[in-house]
């Protein structure tokens, strides 16, 4: 069960610590293990995730526009869901399109962080699996397997954008074995990983367009 602690006026939730640990692992992997050694690209990957996170947390100001008009403070603290994830994916796509450097490398770096973070988060907070015929699916293991499989492919073939598209679709399939669908700790609709995959597809298209 989720735990939380009050440190002075601050509420610290165990689930948040898991997310922080997962992304820390992802960025450490990008820095120390991945072949992405361009400092500018690595910083841009960090910015991409930072902007996406800000949109995820405060996107409710736009997605809950009626609440924002009536009670801005309530809208600002409204917890994120599918709408905010879709908005974050949209911002991600816009930032990738506006990136002036090597888009292929940017998407490769993004993929390293996402694959590693997802695997680590599934390890720290394994999701409940559905039961079929008395068998509980080890859903966390499926998610780890998918992410680590694409991580190996990424190291081998360096096709960040293409693997990000396929990872999204595979994650959508893996989440069929979870009781509820989440993107890290954000509850989401079943189709959210297809939306992420579509965002990656747009990035892939931009990468191809710049290459030609």
């Amino acid at each position: 069960m989720n735990e939380a602690w009050m440190i002075g006026p601050l509420l610290v939730q165990q689930a948040w610590l898991y997310v922080i640990a997962a992304f820390a692992a992802g960025f450490l992997y990008l820095h120390w293990v991945s072949p992405v050694d361009d400092k500018t690209v690595r910083e841009e990957v960090f910015s991409l995730f930072l902007y996406a996170l800000l949109v995820l947390f405060f996107g409710s100001i736009l997605t809950q526009w009626n609440v924002t008009m009536a009670d801005p403070l309530a809208a600002a603290v409204y917890p994120p869901g599918t709408g905010e994830i879709m908005l974050a994916v949209g911002v991600f796509v816009v930032l990738v399109f506006n990136f002036q450097g090597n888009t292929a490398l940017l998407l490769q770096g993004t993929s390293y962080v996402l694959f590693v973070s997802t695997a680590v988060y599934a390890f720290l907070a394994p999701p409940a699996g559905i039961q079929t015929a008395g068998f509980t699916h080890p859903a966390g293991l499926y998610i780890m397997a998918v992410s680590l499989f694409f991580l190996v492919l990424l190291h081998t073939y360096k096709q960040g954008a293409a693997f990000l598209v396929l990872w999204g679709l595979s994650m959508a399939a893996a989440h069929q074995a979870t009781v509820v669908t989440t993107f890290f700790l954000t509850p989401a609709a079943d189709y959210v990983y297809v939306v992420i995959s579509a965002g990656a597809l747009a990035g892939y298209w931009q990468q191809r367009r710049k290459a030609t």
Binding site: M1, A4, L11, Y78, G81, P126, A128, T136, P138, M144
Partner: protein, 173 residues
Amino acid sequence: MKFTVIVILAALMMSWTFYSYIQEESPEMQTEEGLDQGDLAPDFELTTLEGETVQLSDFRGSPVMLNFWATWCPPCRAEMPDMQQVYDDGDLEVLAVNLTSSESSADDVSTFVTDFGLTFPILMDEEAEISDLYEIQPVPTSYFIDENGRIQQASYGPVNEEQMRQQAEMLGD
């Protein structure tokens, strides 16, 4: 060397995850009341805003969202319309315990309930006995209780409609 370490780490993580799934058992069914997963939710009796007496154990047989809130708390205002929606759809019984001792006036609660058009039971915790019993620190806090009266999840901070429906789905499994 670096890759060998990564491969060993990944293998250990996957093995541990697999082991934790096959070892996983349902939370022990406690016969005593407590606040941990699987514990019977501490029973209580409170008076609603309309003056009716409500007991938590009256709701056995239905999944319950037990929410602790106050009118001065912005996250509580954020989640109230979603709670009403989920209650209207019949996915969860909603019991909203107001921290009345922290309100400047009980009239604030009536105004709030009218403004938000809330129809689920608003329980008035005037002496903070029930919030103490449930060890409430952050507001809002919600406990999700299954049809057998056992706590299955605690949520700190606001919860949106998707989370409430997901919890209802999990309580139904």
